[in-house]
């Protein structure tokens, strides 16, 4: 490719085009004006004007989750950049590939407390895989190439590139590099994976369980995981990010375990003698009290990030590498062990698991209840969308109800903020997911508290005429905090009741989209039908649910995983 003379801003746009970027989520501002000017000429890249940079970052995450591609967001210097921080931190915790690009004040002003100056590379150091401050325009193409490479390879994650305004305006001879050479960034050392040891553990286990995390999605290893689980024919549990890694409608799948997992799922993990963890990191929300976690279990831990091995739970056999490449080798090795030594007999174990499942199902009782129960609402929405919709959620009780009752049958179908737990994630992620998967039905299950944290971006969804449906399970509370106050703070509801504001139907009207409300169980189905029939832009559905409903079962923070509390029987 012949070199071409152009500005840094133009070069950036060319770089993004070369990376195949379709959407950028951002807000322009003074220090990124040259880039937006160059973007004006791009025929390939579509820019989505969000109303707050945090939404841009979350939308980029939603896009990345839904498609497996790198999400891209823009912000100007200072507040534009700091508004991105929550989204970047969220992506970091959940290993979402993202490239955030910020303008900064001219190089000569950096370090002078200039107008709208913030040290965004300093600020985001702990929450990015890496970041760059570009001081020489000649380095820009290489940096952008590296940024995308780092974001999507290994354990994916967010990166940030900060470009001072003078660098955007400076000229260079543009040529996009074809290869990346970062001396300190390489895949983990290819130690000979201990596949035989792992296969022997599987062969000799009598109470195995497969534990699936977000790594399955990041590695795109759905088929490989399915084959492995079918071969083992053992119970499968998932994290919230593991939802969709294996169909929850499959008889082996026990769904989510952990703080709000099913009793049967937690009992299964606690009672197992072998845990095969695939792309998961033993987060405190799934292990409960660490010292009592699965006391008899040996652990096979497959992860792409060597630093996750034995970080919290010591792995008996670690397998470091990309799941898509590594897991089939383990499947083969296990098949070999099974054919040579016979399959292990795990029927007694499966019977016990089935009994737990029978005896301790997830439960709620809508019959005879004057109010809509949020669990029932989730199940009704699932029915109405035939379980096929891509779901995004906010953070709180509604998120856990969705995690428990939304039976995820397909990969990339359940998009949520797991690690950071960011309220306000639902609407932005739905925008990103719908743009990434225009043919999919994309819905949001949100809470009233969570929804209000980013609702200004209804404007974005309306602008784009995105037929997304946001179901707000409205209990007029910051419900999850309220639940903890009821259980652990003696019913002292400090600052958790929310006033009945805004009127979500009128709000929808003000933004020019459809607003619906269901107050009683009798109203719900009709309202859902109207929502799903609406194809012309967003719908906001205000579902008034029983205010005091709590998420059960629950492992209190710091308690052993099988030490769960349940709600009152109704």
């Amino acid at each position: 490719m012949a070199k071409q003379k152009m500005t840094g801003a133009q070069a950036l746009v060319r770089c993004l085009e070369a990376e195949g970027v379709e959407y950028i989520f951002g807000v322009p501002g003074g220090a990124i004006l040259p880039v937006y000017d160059a973007l004006f000429d791009s025929k390939v890249i579509k820019h989505v004007l969000v109303r707050h940079e945090q939404v841009g970052a979350h939308a980029a995450e939603g896009f990345a989750h839904a498609t497996g591609k790198v999400g891209v967001c823009f912000g100007t210097s200072g507040p534009g950049a700091t508004n991105l921080v929550t989204g970047i931190a969220d992506a970091y915790m959940d290993s979402v590939p993202m490239v955030a690009i910020t303008g900064n004040v001219p190089s000569t002003l950096i370090g002078t407390d200039a107008f709208q100056e913030a040290d965004i590379t300093g600020i985001t150091m702990p929450i990015t895989k890496h970041n760059w401050l570009v001081t020489d325009v000649a380095e820009l193409p290489r940096v952008i190439k590296e940024a995308f490479y780092v974001a999507r390879t290994g354990r994916p994650g967010p990166v940030l590139v900060d470009i001072p305004k003078d660098v955007q305006n400076a000229e260079l001879e543009f040529e996009y590099p074809t290869s990346v050479n970062i001396p300190g960034y390489h895949p983990p050392v290819a130690e000979e994976p201990r596949l035989r040891d792992a296969a022997q553990l599987i062969r000799s286990a009598s109470r195995p369980v497969v534990y699936l995390g977000g790594g399955v999605r990041h590695s795109n290893a759905f088929k490989e995981v399915f084959e492995f689980c079918e071969l083992l024919d053992a119970p499968v549990v998932t994290t919230v990010h593991g939802k969709g890694a294996f169909p929850e409608t499959h008889s082996l799948c026990l769904g989510m375990f952990g703080m709000h997992g099913g009793r049967y799922s937690n009992y299964t993990v606690q009672g197992s003698d072998l845990i095969i963890a695939l792309g998961a990191r033993f987060d405190d929300r799934v292990t409960g009290k660490l010292s009592t976690f699965a006391p008899e279990a040996k652990i096979i831990h497959l992860d792409v990030d060597p630093a996750e091995i034995s970080k919290l739970v010591t792995a008996t056999v670690p397998l470091v590498g990309d799941m898509k490449a590594l897991l089939p080798l383990l499947t083969e090795e296990t098949k070999k062990a099974f054919s040579q030594q016979g399959r292990p007999d795990i029927s007694a174990w499966k019977k016990r698991v089935a009994e737990w499942r029978e005896k301790h199902p997830l439960r709620y009782k809508q019959d005879g209840q004057p109010h809509i129960l949020p669990q029932w609402a989730v199940e009704r929405i699932w029915e109405k969308s035939q379980g096929k919709a891509v779901v995004t959620t906010g953070v709180g009780e509604h998120q856990m109800f969705a995690a428990q009752y939304w039976k995820t049958s397909y990969p990339r179908q359940f998009i949520t903020s797991g690690g950071l737990g960011t309220m306000g994630f639902c609407l932005p992620a739905a925008i990103g997911a719908k743009l990434g998967r225009p043919d999919a039905e994309v819905i949001g299950i949100d809470g009233d508290g969570s929804f209000q944290m980013t609702l200004q971006d209804l404007a974005t969804a309306v602008d784009l005429k995105l037929p997304i449906k946001i179901f707000v399970l409205n209990n007029l509370f910051l419900g999850m905090v309220r639940q903890w106050q009821e259980l652990f703070y003696d019913n002292r509801f400090s600052e958790t009741p929310l006033s009945d504001l805004p009127d979500l139907v009128k709000l929808a009207d003000a933004y020019g989209c459809l607003g619906l409300r269901a107050r009683t169980p009798e109203e719900l189905d009709g309202v859902l039908d109207r929502a799903f029939a609406h194809k012309d832009g967003p719908v906001i559905v205000d579902i008034r649910v029983r205010r005091q409903e709590k998420v059960y079962p629950m492992v209190p923070a710091g308690a052993p995983l099988n030490d769960m509390i349940d709600g009152e029987e109704r």
Binding site: K129, H130, I182, P183, G184
Partner: protein
């Protein structure tokens, strides 16, 4: 500055890093140690045989976490080209000490003799003060410090540990080995 040889609990490890010689790298590494709760006993950084890399020697004190965890986390930082714990058996470690003693001239001869015992040298003399320079491993410097305390230490400065392994082993990046 931590007395590296006399901690009551925890174990210390010498970690050697080859890092890209670029702005902000120290910040990234120090930030990682602080946010993950790894206790830095000393940290030194300086040029190496190749201008594009710097070498850092970090002495880390760990009470519960295994040192492998620290090494793996550090390895994830993009500008860290190579990192390893140096084996305590094969370690050549040195530290530099500068210490200013305020003492009348009549004591100077005694101090000179003491310095000699520790292979230290007196690098500045004024009528009522001396500056002594010593190098060696931390234990030796700790001992010297203790002896000098009796004369009244006015000011003291230690460089933190630098270290290499004996023999042919190096920390060169893979592609340069």
């Amino acid at each position: 500055m931590e007395r590296t040889e006399t901690r009551p609990n925890g174990s210390t490890h010498t970690i050697s890093l080859l890092v890209e010689n670029k702005p902000g790298v120290l910040h990234r590494i120090a930030g990682l140690f602080s946010r993950r709760g790894y206790n830095i006993a000393s940290l030194t950084v300086g040029p190496t045989e190749r201008p594009e890399y710097s070498r850092m020697t970090i002495v880390v004190r760990l009470s519960s976490k295994p040192v492998e965890q620290v090494v793996r986390q550090v390895q994830k930082l993009v500008p860290v080209v190579e990192v390893r714990e140096l084996s305590p058996q094969d370690l050549i470690e040195r530290e530099l000490l500068l210490v200013k003693i305020r003492t009348p001239e009549k004591n100077h001869a005694e101090l000179r003799a003491l310095a000699e015992t520790y292979e230290a040298s007196i690098v500045d003399v004024s009528p009522d003060a001396l500056v002594i320079e010593a190098s060696g491993n931390a234990g030796k410097l700790d001992a010297l410090e203790e002896r000098l305390a009796a004369y009244g230490i006015q000011e003291l400065c230690r460089s933190g540990r630098i270290a290499l392994e004996r023999g042919f082993k190096t920390l060169a990046p893979r592609n340069l080995k």
